[in-house]
């Protein structure tokens, strides 16, 4: 997972107008729960859909699963502007690289490109990014299961106990769906709908679990 965090020094340097609420000048952040789980032949990624500016939900149907290439996605957490900008830069770099190479790029290459940007500008950026996808060689997400974002802290126990090696694609989808739902239940900065995608040689399958279809977690 490529990560760079910093408390942004930049804030709107206009005189504080008391009529304007202060969340209008706060940076937009994807509070977030993001996950990636490998299976044999591909990877399943999932995320919640909440973007916040302070206490206000700026977008309740955000798509945090961003395509970087045909079979490579990234899951974004941290500052919305920073992660969108980095993703755009890496999409360009990877696209260029792929054309030069005349071959589909590796997930590892994409991850290294993210790392390069995140590390070089680590003082200015606030970004936590998961890179996952399929490629001819290894593909995957770097390790069998990865998760990130503010909501991920609440599901370490769930993942440790429920992740088993050699799961099928459907089992992975169920696991990721349930885990993100649990995180959304507990984390104020995560919520909305669950966006899932499964990436394999055949292609990318995207689906959405709406609010009323969320897996029922607790009894109260």
């Amino acid at each position: 997972m490529a990560a760079a965090t910093m408390n942004p020094f930049f804030s709107q340097n206009i005189n504080q107008n008391s009529l304007v609420p202060d969340w209008t000048s706060q940076e937009v952040s994807t509070g977030t729960t993001i996950m990636a789980v490998e299976y044999d032949g591909g990877v399943v990624i999932g995320a919640d859909s909440r973007t916040t500016t302070g206490a206000y939900i700026a977008n309740r149907v955000t798509d945090k699963l961003t395509p970087i290439h045909d079979r490579i996605f990234c899951c974004r957490s941290g500052s919305a502007a920073d992660t969108q900008a980095i993703a755009d830069v890496v999409t360009y770099q990877l696209g260029f690289h792929s054309i030069e190479l005349d071959a589909p790029p590796l997930v590892e290459t994409a991850a290294n490109l993210f790392r390069a940007s995140c590390y070089r500008y680590r003082e200015e950026l606030s970004a936590g990014i998961l890179v996952a996808g399929w490629d001819q060689r290894r593909g995957g997400a770097g390790s069998p299961s990865q998760w990130g974002g503010s909501g991920s802290s609440y599901i370490y126990g769930y993942m440790d106990s429920n992740y088993k090696p050699n799961m099928t694609k459907d089992q992975c989808l169920e696991l990721v769906g349930a885990a993100v739902a649990l995180a959304m239940e507990r984390d104020g900065s995560s919520g909305g709908v669950i966006r899932l995608a499964s990436i394999s040689e055949a292609g990318v399958e995207r689906r959405v679990i709406l609010g009323n279809q969320l897996p029922k977690c607790s009894t109260h």
Partner: protein, 270 residues
Amino acid sequence: MALSNVLETPLPGFNFDNAARNAALEGLYDGGQTPKPMKTGTTIAGVVFKDGVVLGADTRATSGEVVADKMCSKIHYIAPNIYCCGAGTAADTEKTTELLSSNLTIFSQTSGRNPRLVMAVNILQDMLYRYHGQIGASLILGGVDCTGNHLYTVGPYGSVNKMPYLAMGSGDLAALGILEDRYQQDMELDTAKELVRVAIHAGIMNDLASGNNIDICVITREGVDYIRPYQESEYKDSRYRPGTTPVLTKKVVPLKLEVVQESVQQMETI
């Protein structure tokens, strides 16, 4: 414009560099209130409907607690098929949209293509991200191009969201309440206009920094209908209508222009 603190972290503690300058500035006002930058307190909203996009905005611009402009225009022209509502610092939204409009016009003329909304959004995102939030512009872009009817919002830090309905500005919560309740997909034109009007009205009623009149801009394949004002404020000051101040004398002096020099240059023709 280079940001001096991009590569160097600012020093901790107080920075008194501008103290002397600020003191001199305050001296000019002799104890009175120094001017505050003009902000468009604002309620802006946009809605995608069956045949296009409807954008709406209030018309109040505030400078601190004073209404600086009662009939401010917050729906800016970007291209014949693209308009942009701006909230935040008035100067920033004005200049940013003007810059965008110029760039897109040049692009249109050199490429022979009509500009698309995604291009406008990308240019804005690039610019606002580069300035790391120092440009206080929250924009709602709406328009119709060859790929369909689109509505985007760009935040001051450079984040972009694409939605079928949006509201921004200090009155956005009030407007969004209306939009969340009454938005439907594929609305007719009249329903959409009424929805945006009610949304902006909610912002005006519930937010002190929004007020006065409501402007509406309807963009469809056929063209643009910019209705300014769509709804006038009930609280208009009618004491100072045009004609209140009587004209006592009028003097018209035509400027005498004389031909100083006349020359004929042969043009080289092939």
